[in-house]
């Protein structure tokens, strides 16, 4: 963090604006306490299923390849 925001203002209007903006730090928006819990629940769940997603992708790929061969064979006939 730096505190020299207003020093780089190039005009009196800019300087006043920077002061107004710095005043916004007085009342920062606060996250709900439940945010951390929600993130961790989702992260745990996603970490648990992630290894299986690779397997699902392989199976889906095999089905797609099979379908391609079948359709290709019919079209040649």
């Amino acid at each position: 963090m730096t505190d020299d925001g207003g020093r780089d203002a190039q005009s009196p209007a800019e300087e006043r604006l920077v002061r107004y903006l710095e005043d916004l730090r007085e009342h920062p928006p606060q996250p709900d306490e439940a945010l951390v819990g929600a993130v961790l629940t989702a992260a745990r769940w996603q970490a648990a299923v992630r290894p299986y997603l690779g397997g699902v992708g392989l199976i889906a790929g095999a089905f797609a390849e099979g379908a391609r061969i079948l359709i290709g064979g019919r079209q040649r006939r």
Binding site: M1, T2, D3, G5, D8, A9, Q10, S11, P12, A13, E14, R16, L17, V18, Y20, L21, E22, D23, L24, R25, E26, H27, P28, P29, Q30, P31, D32, L35, V36, A38, V39, L40, A42, A43, R44, Q46, A47
Partner: protein, 187 residues
């Protein structure tokens, strides 16, 4: 040396307790940046999205810059995604009877009320800025990040950050001058 380095290394190895510590350490700044970019109604969703994106991308985080800057870049991107899904928000009216109970002690109650009202109005006007301008203004003038860190977050060359910041301030001054509220901005 990145103060988050040790936790990041552990979290990258699948240590959820380390990831939790990172979320607790950065939730406030992530939420504030999200709220000032998309508004309070969507800030919770954007923050959650940003942390989960970071969780999945941690193995690819090379540690070339600070973790906080990398996380705020993800937050900005998540906020922009959210904004592109939504129509522009109507500019809501400001309730002058907002809570003015806490402010600097030397101000009178009337000054505190006026100051709080101005802050509420300014938060609303901030959301009218072009996204790239709003990002630098929030990061520099409200969050107080250094130019180096802003360059990391916005993936902008350091030399362009200052120019963009001045253009952002000019744009906001222009918006405020067109407003009926008297912002007392010198010419």
């Amino acid at each position: 040396m990145d103060p988050d380095g040790a936790l990041v290394d552990r979290a990258r190895g699948g240590d959820l307790a380390a990831f939790e510590a990172l979320v607790r350490r950065h939730r406030d700044v992530v939420y504030r940046v999200a709220a000032r970019t998309v508004g309070a109604a969507d800030a919770e969703d954007v923050s959650q999205d940003a942390f989960l994106r970071a969780f999945h991308r941690l193995p690819r985080f090379r540690g070339e810059g600070p973790f906080r800057a990398w996380l705020l870049r993800i937050t900005q991107n998540a906020a922009l995604t959210q904004q592109s899904r939504r129509r522009p928000e109507p500019v809501e009216s400001v309730d002058p009877m907002v809570d003015a109970s806490d402010g600097p002690a030397e101000r009178t109650p009337a000054e505190r009320l006026e100051g709080r009202e101005r802050q509420e109005r300014l938060e609303t006007k901030l959301r009218l800025l072009a996204p790239a301008h709003r990002a630098v203004l929030v990061l520099r003038d409200i969050e107080g990040l250094s130019y180096d860190e802003i360059a990391e977050v916005t993936e902008t060359p350091l030399g362009s950050v200052k120019g963009r910041l001045h253009r952002a301030r000019d744009e906001l001054i222009d918006i405020l001058r067109r407003n009926t509220y008297d912002w007392e901005l010198p010419e």
